[in-house]
């Protein structure tokens, strides 16, 4: 079957149409993705009034950023900094625990034989794919049963259970570390722990970075679990704190917000501060990130 020859003129036209359609779609999406973020970064530089009247993408003044900062800092005696500090404690504490348990676990799943290995791996996969929110309410009920509600550990321990991290380490070791290398080390008299310490761990640096990134971002942005288990504003992470700040903003809550200095300008500054750590990580680890998203499941 010979394909019909397309006359060159119509080929050129259709290529032009394709390019035009692509340009329109991509430009529209670019605006959709970038505009809200751009607006957010500019908003703290404007007063609430300017936010309503000025051109949406204009820059106000550094003076106003300073003013918003002072208002925000004095909100409930610096509650914002407490929340940011809490977020750091929860995310970093669970990050350390996650790495301590998931690197050895992924290593053993990839490179050693033991009864139940297959089962452990399958359960890990299933829990990893299930949306993490499915377990939040059951975990709350469990913590309540053991009287752990409101303690630091009620956040850090559930956060540090991170099956995706274990799977990433497993895939990494299963595909990059030859078993023969480990056998050779064993023959040379290395114990299992030394094989892990001396050979596997030094090679694992890239995957440790990847697990750390995903774990930190996920826990920093988590809202549901802390919202359920932390009754006290003193212990809120920043995400739950933002919810409280929202209810004090007169643009959304004229009654509760009356008399407070928290306007849209201060709220948007708080949002920027809340996302800053994650945003910085995103900007500097783009390559690692993309490889990690694809490593989430093996390629065909």
């Amino acid at each position: 079957m010979t394909p019909p020859r397309v006359p060159p003129r119509s080929e050129a036209t259709s290529r032009f149409v394709s390019a035009a359609v692509a340009a329109v779609i991509l430009t529209a999406l670019l605006i959709f993705f970038v505009l809200p973020a751009g607006w957010l970064l500019l908003a703290p530089s404007k007063t609430a009034g300017q936010l309503v009247q000025d051109f949406p993408l204009s820059f106000g003044s550094f003076h106003q950023i300073g003013a918003a900062w002072r208002h925000l800092a004095s909100y409930q005696d610096g509650a914002l900094f407490r929340w940011l500090g809490n977020s750091a404690i929860y995310s970093l504490g669970s990050l350390v625990l996650t790495l301590l348990v998931s690197v050895p676990a992924g290593y053993a799943l990839a490179l050693s034989e033991f009864r139940g290995r297959r089962l452990l791996l399958t359960v890990t996969l299933v829990v990893m794919i299930m949306p993490s929110a499915t377990l939040v309410l059951p975990i709350f009920l469990e913590l309540n049963l053991f009287g752990l509600i409101g303690s630091v550990w009620s956040i850090i321990l559930p956060f540090s259970f991170y099956p995706f991290g274990v799977y990433l380490v497993y895939i990494y070791f299963a595909t990059t570390l030859p078993r023969d290398l480990l056998s050779a080390a064993r023959i040379d008299g290395c114990g299992e722990w030394q094989v892990f310490r001396r050979i596997a761990l030094p090679l694992a640096r890239p995957v440790i970075g990847l697990v750390a990134f995903f774990s930190f971002v996920g826990n920093w942005n988590n809202f549901f679990l802390p919202y359920l288990v932390l009754p006290n504003s003193e212990q809120f992470p920043i995400q739950v704190g933002l919810n409280q700040l929202l209810s004090s903003t007169p643009s959304f809550n004229p009654v509760a917000g009356a008399g407070l200095d928290i306007t849209s300008s201060e709220l948007s500054l708080a949002i920027v501060l809340a996302i800053l750590p994650v945003l910085v990580l995103f900007l500097f680890s783009q390559r690692a990130l993309v490889s990690g998203m694809l490593a989430g499941s093996t390629k065909e």
């Binding site: 299930m130 949306p131 892990f196 359920l228 093996t298």
Partner: protein, 313 residues
């Protein structure tokens, strides 16, 4: 008889070998157990136990008496139960269609029609809102949807939305949540889909071109069928995640001064059961419905997709 004579000793030797191998594997197994011990404890404590405890709560009452399926019947009969599933159902249909169609379309465009450098920059920019996942993204969109401050205020007014409360009318909520989910999540899926398209060998597309297929034809007949598996993966994960909506409607409720239904999504209904009624048994029953949905999705992906490996090499 030679056959018997020849047959027996090797069998014995085999048995001995097997015994020896089992012993050595066991010896090698012990460190294996130590390495996975910490993780296994966490898995049992925050994966297995909460699930079993939720099952226990769902089949008992507040005095710990076994009540069979009564809790499930109770929440099913709750007048808020079915509407909350209808809400997320509406949301899910729109979200799945949008995320699958647009993600694949954009990935095809970025792969075929855009210069590689520009394509990298665009993928990065599409992906950045992912950093705002969760509360921050909802707050940003509260501003975007508030006609008085929104940069697209004139557009909102052109559609007849003059005030924030008009925008967040109940019928509009699914659309709003789709916008938010797309804004934070689509970039990641575009990256993944693009990666899958990248794995298609150039020769395949070249052959199609030689056979006279245009860009759109080869996209439709070759590229998309070849990444079918990834599209299914995306659809199932987007579905499973979508059933869990909580942050978005909950914050929308705060922002709307409580005008948004407190039990808009099933997770919120479970929350109301636990925190307002103190009915942990009912809350557990609702969360089990969601848990089973999530488990089904995960089970299908793990056993059917072939995207995950559980055997080394």
């Amino acid at each position: 008889m030679t056959t018997v004579e020849a047959g027996r000793p090797p069998a014995l030797a085999d048995a001995e070998l097997v015994r020896r191998r089992v012993r050595s594997r066991r010896r090698a197994g012990r460190p294996g157990y130590l390495f996975v011990a910490g993780y296994t404890v966490l898995l049992l404590a925050f994966g297995v136990f909460p699930t079993l405890y939720a099952v226990y709560l769902a089949v008992t009452n507040d005095r710990g008496q076994f009540t069979g399926l009564n809790q499930f019947v109770k929440v099913l009969r709750d007048y808020r139960f079915v509407p909350s599933f209808v809400d997320i159902g509406l949301y899910l249909v729109m979200w799945l269609v949008l995320v699958v169609v647009l993600t694949v379309l954009v990935a095809v465009l970025l792969r075929g029609l855009v210069r590689p450098g520009l394509s990298t920059v665009l993928r990065f920019l599409f992906y950045i809102p992912g950093a705002l996942a969760g509360v921050a993204s909802v707050l940003v969109w509260l501003f975007m949807l508030n006609p008085t401050v929104s940069p697209v205020g004139p557009l909102l007014r052109a559609f007849g939305f003059d005030t924030f409360s008009q925008v967040i009318a109940p019928a509009d909520l699914p659309v709003i949540f789709v916008l938010i989910a797309f804004w934070t999540g689509a970039g990641g899926w575009i990256v993944v889909t693009y990666g899958a398209l990248n794995n298609i060998p150039d020769e395949v597309l070249e052959a199609a071109r030689v056979d006279g297929a245009g860009r759109w034809q080869s996209a439709w007949h070759i590229q998309i069928p070849m990444i079918r598996k990834w599209i299914a993966y995306m659809a199932i994960l987007a579905f499973a995640g979508g059933t869990q909506l909580f942050v978005e409607p909950q914050l929308m409720r705060t922002a709307s001064l409580g005008r948004v239904d407190p039990t808009w999504s099933p997770n919120q209904l479970a929350y109301v059961y636990a925190f307002q009624n103190g009915d942990f048994n009912g809350a557990a029953a609702i969360s089990l419905f969601l848990l089973v949905l999530g488990l089904l999705c995960a089970g299908v992906l793990v056993t059917r997709s072939g995207l995950f490996k559980t055997e080394e090499r």
